[in-house]
Symmetry: D2
Subunit: 400 residues, 4 copies
């Protein structure tokens, strides 16, 4: 076992942290309270800086215009980027585009890669992933009502999606649709690329979440497909492979999410310690001398360390044995890291007192917009069930 | 011991619940996402209905224009009103006006009551309470920098306040100010009524909280007093009695807050059960059959019942033995009920999945704007310390 | 609502507390580390004192030799008695005899009352309740393998029981047996009185629990019934009424258990505060000044108060509306109070440091032998499910 | 980063696991309920087997008769051994002897090593460590009342110790004594080797813990030193270095403790899954299908993985940067792993129902005798404070 991080990676991470601190943190206040559209040009400047730093699209293979970082390296980078809600965007590895780039790189045809992946990797367009439906529980990944019926060399799509993040302004959606309703459950769905200017594509609204509808990239939209027709060549991978591609997308994607959450934890931990170190309870009597505050700091440190090590171990296992072998580890970190994040953020708020619920710190942003982490990509309960059922199989229990 | 609630009170509560459900819940969506100013006229109509129901200003003595409900009765009413963020406002017993009415009724001169209390009780004006300061920890109630120096028959006030709830649009503030800096700590401050049109009164901003600055009643403002002069007759009660009056205000006030929180718990519990009963995980397979969901429902039921009984017992003790005798009970419910509320709301969100973080339910509003409950009126930690020190006194420990 | 306790009850409780403190606490060390058999004569002296105090068999109707306390009064007494593991025994209202006395008083024939109830109430004999079986989950109360087949005017009983508390030395067992295997599940079992000297009654062993097999009253036995024959008149109540009688026994019985647990909580709370008040961390630096300790004291105070109020409210509801109406409340307190007890005991141990795990305090006894509280009479999980399913019924869900 | 474990280590661990399962688990029942003295000869046979396996005294350098495993290797072995309370004893790396061997190897003179270390490493004698005192809080490591006054070439020792584990039958004690009362706090104490047959050495009692006084190795004794004289050459290391040596002993020692706890976690996890997989709630309806049970399994898996990774990372850091550099990590694992262990054991008990509190499984042993883990070697609260103060130093706070 070796827990060391190569020096050049450490240096890269330190450089990124400094850049974010100096160049990106100052944009946060505007991001939180303003319209994203008004921030785009400022962000483009920062993106230019990232290109200069040779860190643009860090996870994208070089052939498609990225850096091609190794999986573990990108995991570590993702933590740094997670310290600010703008980090991944500025480096062009933000959800949901990052996941779409991954599946296009892995499953896309050369034509699809040329038309959709390259401009995405170049940051010229954005995309979304249309999977969740209001009428079908998201925790049941094989249940959906949106259908794509093949007519000639076209698919005709009808359905209702929501929580399609970043659909507002996206050039195309990757849509999960049922193409084979009579196949076994995990072979019913396919993924189809749907340009958002296709007739029948209806943008209903940006769903207000935690008090904000958002706009542009930071938004979650409701969509309808009404007799929407796309050419059959827009099918991603094979027909019926939708679920398998989604799994391929989600496994490593959860590593990036989790590392992003670790970054959030560290930012919140930082805020908590800073406040504890500076705030007086009475003149000269520091908040940080209080044992309750010390307990929160210590428990947060332990839990963050635990979460990070587990995520890195899962990443290492994916790298060495593949995502399937790491299935249990991936489920573990999904619920564990999300829980740690929410606890650390909550403690940091409490240490700040009234300031902590105000928009004068970043904490309330995490408190509001990261609450979804315990829900999206499988709620805690689903992942716990996955882990338990796999554990029990080792004891001779089938089908629990 | 007798846990029964008189039939006429039960009927009053049922009537209020129905009225809120039919008339006030429909205004919530606009309240959450719009400007308060745009809602005022609709709310005035509802307030007129409350006057017709003879429940206007329920806690205010009849001589000042209210109903004069007994303390326990108002506690129970407060739970019902708490089910919607607009409940207390529509009945004119909202914070911070309710507390101001209480102290004006108890400590105000006839002139102060005529000028400030009566229009407040009539709902013609609003008020605020200016206590918390950005530079002094709110958890230390005897530490503040705002001063009032007596010059002739005037007080000259200088200082910096924030989180003065509802200051935006208030006709007057009750300000906590240091008048006797050399007295023993609990005798240093006084409360002075400050009309907001007094020269030197500066409204700095509505502090954005959890993503919203708010406006009008639902807001939390930053204020500055610069050489602000008010006549000495604006002193509320005696000079040096500021802390004592604040305690008199906060003790029973915490009962109302806590009962309001119980109302929030019941609303969230309602939402949680409704969703569990209706939502399918697969066609015909209800969410409510899942043991995790059942555990949350059961734990919430237990904790809400526990919190309610403790608040009512504290209210009963205040009624029978006075607020001082109930000091421990008041501290207990302050931290216990706030914690229960946040847990129940969080579980209800989780049961709703993505819908739970959206503004399509009221849950996210509670999640965001009630987080402060663990902070204002003394953070959890302060109340726990109060309880422990009082308990330890019984074992012969002085001054811990 | 009225939370007051009548003065005469308060005085009775104070007298009992003093008696236990002075006369019974000193026997605890011997109880914990020695054989019960060696303690019996000392306990008989204390029992004589209780008879003199006119508090013998407090819950038993006067016609059978007891005090006939009202239900709420006995609930309050049960808390006091719970402060020591010997309390209930000394007053002759210990489990399982107390429950057996209750069902014999309610369902027994005059002959059964004469032969079994009166000597039990007089403290001349002891009894046990044989329900749980090693091969059938105790959490499923309608599943058991022990059968009683009627042959002529006898029942022939065969089966295997365990965790029959206090069977060692009992004069008779009340046995739950299946008499009607083809009836609907809740009508299959009956309760039959089995004198322990009946041929076919096999005492297998006292099951070692948490390191001790125990003996006499404090023990949990494994039993076998092999072709054991008892006269049909030993049937308690009607044939097929076993489950209904068990419910009648358990409902109020849970109140007594829960109040006993509250007594344990108060004793542990007492120990915790005493230690915090006396123990130095450094010369003159009291443990009780530490915020972590203060948090535990405050959280314990809150949770104990909450548990007590809920138990008393449940008791009041049973008294006023019957056990069936209070079903939800009974399930709530069963899991809530057990959880509080274990948390308070655990905190008290932590405050004591090494002393806390030693037998030099009573805490380790509670830690060990009350852990079962979350398991017996329905594990936490069963009660939570009961509550949730009843709550969901209100939302139109049948059969969840 | 590399999370792989070398194949030969994996094989060694698998061999040990099998050996323990086949040869040592069967002795547990006798260990739990009987006298240790009666088990010694059976254990000696197993120890002979371990010698044959060439794994005797695995952590002891070869020059003193051990295997000389690398630190990380021994950490991993310690997990395997921890699965049974007899594991470390059978391999001769049990506390407190293992720690004494370490400090004798590092700080002992050749004469001390010859006389005390070699027979210890050979398993011919046992030893104890006398540090904790009843009148001085163990959480304050620089406060003790036992003194050693140098007279000529002897130390005269007076004092009162307790919780000296394994003192019963030990050939010598390593005693922490104050030799330099006027030095700065961390330089006041020294460690002195005290043969237990020295006049003035009084064995008071084995302190009953969780219901058992124990005997021989599994015991915790109270000792008194009355004018006990030992030659000055029995001083271990330098005079005044007692605290430093204790730290040197505790740092790596905590790794072994923590890995032992992980072993306990895995054993309990195993029991939990086994029971969930086998136990019917109704015929054919497995306990493991219940979501509550699945949640416990999943949460336990996550927490155990987290704890193990953190302990291994701390071990790696000690190996690479020294114990001082790993101070924070050591404190983190001390409280985190102990907490995880108690939670996992508690869940495993709950899954077993009544069986779980009985001595028919090993779980109750862990529940009782590992509760001390949150207390000994620094209670949770002390370690949390250490972590927090170190964290806050990074934010410019001195001396908090």
């Amino acid at each position: 076992m070796d827990f060391s991080v190569p020096t050049e990676i450490q240096e890269m991470l330190a450089k990124v942290r400094q850049f974010l601190h100096d160049d990106v943190y100052p944009l946060e206040a505007q991001f939180i309270n303003g319209r994203f559209a008004d921030l785009v040009s400022a962000l483009e400047e920062k993106r230019a800086r990232v290109r200069e730093m040779k860190l643009w699209a860090p996870q994208v293979p070089a052939e498609f215009g990225g850096v091609g970082l190794a999986f573990m390296e990108h995991a570590m980078l993702s933590e740094e980027l997670g310290r600010t809600p703008l980090g991944h965007y500025v480096f062009n590895c933000q959800a949901p585009d990052a996941g779409n780039m991954e599946i296009l790189a892995e499953f896309g045809t050369p034509e699809q890669q040329e038309r959709f992946l390259k401009p995405l990797a170049a940051g010229k367009i954005r995309s979304c992933f249309a999977m969740t439906e209001p009428d079908c529980a998201g925790s049941n990944p094989v249940w959906m009502n949106t259908t794509a019926v093949k007519e000639g060399d076209e698919y005709v799509i009808n359905g209702h999606k929501w929580f399609s993040s970043a659909a507002d302004g996206a050039a195309f959606a990757v849509a999960m649709v049922v193409t084979d309703p009579d196949a076994e459950p995990h072979r019913r769905a396919s993924q189809i690329i749907v340009p958002t200017d296709t007739p029948g594509y209806q943008f209903v609204r940006n769903i207000p979440v935690m008090g904000h509808a958002g706009d542009g990239w930071p938004s979650h939209s409701e969509l309808r497909f009404e007799n929407l027709r796309v050419p059959a060549e827009n099918l991603l991978g094979e027909q019926g492979a939708g679920f398998a591609i989604a799994q391929a997308r989600l496994g490593p994607g959860r590593i990036h999410h989790c590392m992003r959450w670790i970054g959030i934890c560290e930012r919140a931990f930082d805020c908590m310690c800073q406040r504890a170190a500076e705030r007086d309870l009475a003149p000269g009597d520091k908040l940080g001398t209080r044992q309750s505050v010390q307990n929160w700091i210590a428990e947060s440190r332990a839990e963050i360390n635990a979460a990070r090590l587990m995520v890195l171990q899962a990443a290492w296992k994916i790298d060495n044995e593949g995502a399937k072998a790491a299935r249990e580890e991936i489920s573990v970190i999904k619920f564990f890291a999300a829980d740690v994040m929410m606890k650390v953020v909550d403690r940091a708020i409490q240490v700040h007192g009234a300031l902590g619920v105000s928009d004068d710190t970043i904490l309330q942003y995490f408190y509001r917009f990261e609450r979804g982490a315990r829900i999206y990509d499988g709620p805690d309960e689903v992942h716990k069930s996955v882990i338990a059922r796999r554990a029990l199989k080792g004891y001779g229990v089938a089908g629990t």
